[in-house]
Symmetry: C2
Subunit: 393 residues, 2 copies
């Protein structure tokens, strides 16, 4: 069992009409002039953005707007946000949207106070131990960025998707109203659930399989997400089911499902190269890669995969055949991904066969030119990464 | 499903030798002159107190000492602490001990900044929205005060045990080293586990039985505590099992096991009168009362007690007899309490039969002279309280 730090200081305000508390929360956390950051049209179309701007104005809070965040959020918009904040004297950033918007906001929040180039943080050339305070109104449960300590940004120059983070970028508050997710299309809903399940599975697949309580909590979360997603796909306005998923997405990535374990994160790293190169939906990319990762690594700790098969996927435990049980658990997860409309191969997600050159390029980038490994469950070198991409082809 | 706020901002530093980070943590949260608050002799005998004082001194942090906290911590010591902090210009309180020490520290932290009499807060005559910052080194996992927003104090004048709390009294940091709990005697260990299980059961027994994720997490925690306690009773130095219990105690009362439900808390309120009057161990008092509370209220939501019986206690679900399944779950919990050395009647815990007059007095106090109800699963009036005390006799 590993020592750990658990620090999830975000104030979560969860429920119907919770966005109405936005002005009070911004003030509580010291905001006077706020950058309101958002994505494409949905925040506008739904009327949420106008409602929020009205509430902030009523609360005597000045606002500056920056929209246009796209999935796999871009460095160029981050740079624009940094400039705006500095010029306008912004002292708080409010995100209205999903993980991409919050990730972009985190990058801006670091960049405003960091003296060097913000991209340096993402490529290991710098560290930053402060940032502007932030809050968010979550509309897409998926990335868990609303409680996490991480941010992922894509540099269009080279299609590099890289992550950075520490405790300072945790949101001061996260407003979560499940009703705001009723209009989320099935594909985004399913990709979101995949992402949140993977956040917990990256922590769950650990060689430290002696933190019982954490494992039990992780399994509880995985089972709930697995069951509830079918309910929202059937009835997108099922408040109760949407609420389980929204809250699950936050808990899946606030560290409570990983206390005392050593997380893996190889699937995430492999996926970052995929969505960096092909700009695919992150959750879908994870579904396309995980089964191949699992089949490549399961022999390094069969009993953990057996536990997953039995406790999460409901596979009968064949005590005479642990490997068979483990493999049936992986196959069941693959079937689950397919059943909710997720791809389970690179071809399915990219829309054409992925070439050897592309695979080699992704493995090269993911291993930082052969100098870095990924994962802890099984430590992956460049050739392992290429082998997994090929299995997933 | 209820709307909720989840806010558990305490930085938990968990693991072997974690107390060595104390000076850095006090500084991180702005402490310069610290009241070190502790209980009886165990913090001294174990050498922990001296170690901590040495580390703080090395870190250039001034200290003032106040020991002597007893279980069911007293108002008189709180008043003494307030006076010391004001006189000495203390700007941070560090607790070294268990829930009683932390609860006492919270009362002091409020009292130092509150202009009126601190007891007013506990009897509903005042509110306080700030307090001195605090941190703790936990040595007794039980009360969950290390992450909770509450404090319970006993006023010796009338033996009144009352609670108060809001987000401001949450600890800035909580240092948890499971090794520091190896010397905890079996009775304290078992009473601690009872207390933490009850913190989750108070949340779990709710009429809002539609927050699946929260229920699954609560059940995961209850099952883990129930199993791990036997391991530590058998081998008090089992680090892994001690760690499950220590972390479980914090999660049991940081609200994650109650998000979206409406908690009950009647058993706690009934127990407060018991330990106020007889000065018994809080966890043991809860064990003595819960089975009677459960049998008195279960008909108000049989299906919730069936779920508890099956998912937590492992009772086979007899679908033809839900009430029987529910009652077998309650009986199994009662057996569990007995198996870990807890009392399951008032006579067992007080050491003699409790008189009618004493029961009527407790019901009178618990209902604030017949003016207040307790509980939400079933709303209890004064006569219900007396009936439950009698069943538990």
């Amino acid at each position: 069992m590993k020592d750990f730090v658990y620090f999830a200081p975000t104030e979560v305000v969860f429920g119907r009409k919770s966005e109405e508390k936005v002005a009070a929360l911004v003030k509580k956390y010291g905001g006077h002039k706020v950058l309101v950051h958002y994505g494409g049209g949905s925040a506008k179309r739904s009327g949420l953005l106008d409602k929020v701007l009205g509430l902030l104005k009523e609360g005597g809070i000045e606002t500056v707007l920056l929209g246009g965040v796209v999935p796999n959020p871009r460095l160029s918009l981050v740079r624009e946000g940094i400039e705006i904040c500095r010029k306008e004297g912004v002292d708080f950033i409010l995100s209205v949207g999903g993980g991409s918007v919050i990730d972009s906001a985190k990058a801006i929040a670091y960049g405003v106070v960091y003296e060097g180039d913000v991209w340096d943080l993402y490529i290991g050339k710098g560290e930053c131990y402060k940032c502007l305070p932030m809050g968010c109104i979550l509309t897409i449960p998926a990335a868990g960025s609303e409680m996490s300590s991480g941010t992922v940004i894509t540099n269009e120059d080279g299609n590099l998707k890289r992550d950075y983070g520490n405790e300072y970028c945790r949101q001061k508050f996260a407003i979560m109203n499940p009703e705001r997710t009723f209009t989320l299309p099935p594909y985004q809903t399913a990709a979101g659930v995949t992402d949140m399940m993977m956040h917990t599975m990256e922590r769950y697949f650990s060689q430290d399989d002696d933190m019982t309580l954490t494992d039990e909590i992780a399994e509880a979360l995985l089972r709930t997400m697995k069951d509830e997603v079918f309910k929202v796909l059937k009835d997108p306005s099922d408040y109760r089911a949407r609420a389980q998923i929204m809250w699950g997405g936050a808990l899946a990535h606030n560290d409570v499902t990983g206390c005392g374990t050593s997380s893996d994160w190889a699937t995430h790293q492999l996926e970052h190269e995929l969505s960096g190169m092909f700009d695919v939906t992150h959750g879908a990319g994870l579904a396309a890669i995980w089964p191949s990762w699992a089949r490549y690594v399961y022999k390094d700790n069969v009993s953990r995969f057996v536990r997953f098969a039995v406790n999460v996927m409901g596979v009968p435990n064949d005590f005479t055949d642990p490997e068979g049980t483990a493999l049936r658990g992986i196959a069941a997860m693959e079937q689950f991904f397919h059943a909710i409309g997720m791809p389970i191969s690179l071809e399915e997600i990219v829309g054409r066969p992925v070439t050897d050159e592309e695979i080699d390029r992704m493995a090269y980038l993911c291993s930082n030119g052969g100098t870095a490994t990924q994962g802890r469950f099984k430590v992956l070198k460049q050739e392992d990464m290429a082998a997994i991409y090929r299995m997933a082809r």
